[in-house]
Every structure is written in C-alpha cells, then in structure tokens.
C-alpha cells in the first residue's frame, strides 16, 4: 500500500494533488505527457476510475488537457495557475489557523511578525 495516500482526503483529490506537486517541482513540465490512469492505478494501488476522477478534476480546472487518442498533457501556464491556487489555500489553511491560535494565546501582530522572521532564520540555520 502506498504511503502517499491516506484517509485525510478523498483519494481522487490526493491524486490530483500529486500531479500538481509534480508540475510545481518541474518534474512534469508544461506540454509533457502525464502517466495514464492505469499507470496511476497500478502505482498507487487504487481503482482506475478513482485515478481518472483525479485526472479529470485537473482537466476541468484547465491544468491538464487531453490529446485525443494519445493521453493527458500539462497545459501551458499550469504551474502559475497551481501556484496561485496553492497560495490561496495556504492563506486559508495556515495563515487563518495561525491567527486564530495567536489570538487565543494573546500574541499580537508585531510579536507574530517577529516570530515569522525568527522562523525564517531558524529554517536557514
């Protein structure tokens, strides 16, 4: 069983995110062909219909496009699009959650900025 897949989200969403990750890191450049649904199914040990659902999610968003009879390809501009989407998600998932926790602990905006800068330094160290 592949450890990349867990119960936290629907499997097809996780497949879509894996593909997005590969586009973000450049492993799947624009206009390159992505693996087939059957290859995804075999690799992640999932139902091919589930894999197809994940791929179609990205087709609907315009991140992938279909070449009839050949397969699925990464759309031009896909990386930018994913980056924008992920930034919005980052704000929702991390920034808002952090603000909520900060409020609970009585951490003011200034102190928070200090902490973020410290975190940046610590990561580099």
């Amino acid at each position: 069983m592949n450890p990349l897949i867990d119960d936290a989200k629907p499997i097809f969403v996780q497949i879509a995110e894996r593909i997005e990750d590969d586009i973000l890191t450049g492993r799947l450049p624009e206009d390159s062909q992505i693996p087939s649904t059957n290859q995804f199914a075999a690799f992640y040990q999932i139902n091919p219909a589930t894999a197809a659902k994940g791929v179609n999610l990205l087709v609907d968003e315009g991140i992938l496009y279909k070449r009839r009879g050949i397969g699925m390809f990464v759309s031009p501009g896909a990386r930018e699009q994913i980056l924008l989407k992920r930034k919005n998600q980052f704000y929702e998932q991390y920034v808002l959650a952090m603000m909520r926790e900060a409020e609970k602990l009585g951490i003011g905006a200034e102190e928070l900025v200090q902490m973020i800068l410290k975190g940046k330094d610590d990561l580099r160290a």
């Binding site: 069983m1 989200k9 629907p10 499997i11 649904t37 059957n38 075999a42 091919p48 959650a97």
Partner: protein, 295 residues
C-alpha cells in the same frame, strides 16, 4: 447494467437472512460488499449466482432471471470462501475444466498466475495447504475474465505478500479487461482503495449503497472539551460518542464542509478523518450512540 435485484428477501425457517434488499450492479465497476459475520453477504452472493432461491423479490442478471440459464451462468465466476474441488484432481485438471466452463478463459494468463502464486500445477488438490487452495480460487477468478466475477473472502490462509499480489494482479488485469467485480471481505482497509462502489449490509438489510469516494468523506471525528463538542454536535447525526475525563470524541455522519471546519476551529476542536473501516465499525456496531451519561 449487469444485475438488478429488487426487494429481495430470504428467510431460512424463522431466520431472516436478507430483508428487502434492492440494488444494481453496473458494468465494469469494482464493488465492495461489506458486512459483519452473518450479515447476509454470502446469502446474497448465492442468490445472485442462482445457487439459492429467494423467498420474495426479483433477481435479474444480464437482463434475465439467472436460474438454469447457461448463457447467464457462464458469464459469472463465483469464488467462494471455502470452495471445494475434486480432491484427487490436479491443479492443471481444475484449470482445464475451467477453460471449458468460462467462454473468456485465458489459459496463458492462468499459467502466468499459477507461476506468480507459486502453485505446482501437477500437485493434487488434497495435497494443497489452505493458502494454496485460496490461491487456486484467485487464479480461477482472474483467468475466467467473467463479466461478473464475485470473490467471497478469497484469501483464507493467504499471507500478506500473496494478498498484495492479488490486489496488484486484479488491478492490472481489470485495467486491461474491465469487468464487474464484487469483493466481499473483512479486510476493509486493505481493499478500500480498489473499490469504486460500496455496499454495507447489516442484519440482512442494505444500510449503505454509495460511490466509494462519497463514503470515504461521509464522516469525520471531532474531539476536544466536552461542552464544546456538545455544542458542535447538537443538530448533527452522531455515530459514536466517547468520553475520557473532560475530553470527548464524537464521530459525525456528515460530509465535512468549510462552515463546519470553521465552527470546529473556533471551538478549539480537532477534526480527524474517519477511515472506511472505522465508519464500518460505527455503522454496524452494536449501538451507534453508546456515549450517554456515565457515572
């Protein structure tokens, strides 16, 4: 459509094994049939394969009643939990016989499978271990390529490596030769990802019939301070409720939406996904609201 059953009931004497079960099986999907021991799974599979007559209700397989219809039955392969074969037959005899029964039998694929499962073709059935017998059933089920293939707990005695091999081979062959597959099993977490559609049957009744992706997001658990959990779950359907001191964890039957996530965050509650196996236990457990007030 592959099969359609309507208001199917089966009683054995005074015992009701199946009670008004209705569902359809569509073409080229992998179904999971889940249920506790004695829930009625095997009865249902015996009815679908014309090995039992219903007490009431109708069964249609490939568009007609399956009873004594060769053209229907030869399209069904049913691998039973404790399938019996002629004890003196060799594995190769069983395969030869299967090649006569199933129109889509692939002898070459069968040979590959026998090799993959390390089954000695000239060994007699009576000399096989429990795990090897199960592997013979799996080879039959896969190589028959039957448009409706039903596996009822096919892996008694099979080790984890062989089960993984089964899942891999099933997926690979299904991808190339799509067909309708019904997997009945207790190993829910192992097969979860293979399934496209899920049936849960409990005490003879079909209590869940849904797309696997919907089922996987059907419930979640919230935990935190007792009062905060109380205010969160009020008005929501709770499947399971557990307390530990002032901490409380509740399993909520509802897809998780942004509003609920926000509400939980504001109440300082932690949200966790619920696996298919956990959901199954919640739905078929003795009592779904066992929390209550404890001394």
């Amino acid at each position: 459509m592959i099969a359609k059953v309507s208001r199917l009931s089966k009683t054995f004497g005074s015992v009701s094994a199946l009670d008004q079960v209705s569902f359809t099986l569509e073409e080229n999907k992998i179904y999971g049939l889940l249920g506790r021991n004695g829930a009625g799974k095997t009865t249902l599979m015996h009815l679908l394969t014309a090995q039992l007559f219903p007490t009431s209700g109708t069964i249609e397989v490939f568009g007609e009643s399956p009873y004594e219809k060769r053209r229907v039955l030869e399209q069904i392969c049913f691998v039973k939990e404790s399938q019996t074969y002629v004890r003196n037959a060799r594995i190769s005899d069983v395969m030869d016989f299967a090649s006569l029964v199933f129109p889509r039998w692939d002898q070459r694929f069968a040979r590959e499978l026998l090799h993959a499962f390390r089954l000695p073709t000239e060994r007699r059935i009576k000399q096989l271990s429990r795990g090897m017998l199960s592997a013979v059933g799996i080879v039959l089920g896969l190589a028959s390529r039957a448009p409706l293939t039903i596996f009822d707990e096919p892996y008694l005695g099979l080790d984890a490596a062989s089960r993984t091999l089964f899942y891999d081979l099933l997926l690979a062959d299904y991808s190339e030769h799509p067909r309708t597959i019904v997997l009945s099993t207790h190993l829910i977490d192992e097969v979860n990802r293979l399934l496209e559609h899920i049936f849960i049957i409990d005490q003879g009744r079909l209590i869940l019939d849904d797309d696997a992706d919907n089922v996987r997001g059907m419930a979640y658990s919230v935990s935190g301070q007792d009062q905060n959990v109380s205010s969160f779950v009020s008005g929501r359907r709770v499947l399971r409720d557990e307390r530990l001191g002032s901490l409380r964890t509740a399993v909520v039957m509802q897809p998780l939406d942004a509003g609920s996530m926000k509400q939980a965050a504001e109440l300082g509650l932690e949200i966790q996904p619920v696996s298919l196996q956990q959901l199954f236990v919640c739905l078929t457990g003795t009592n779904s609201t066992e929390g209550g007030d404890r001394p």
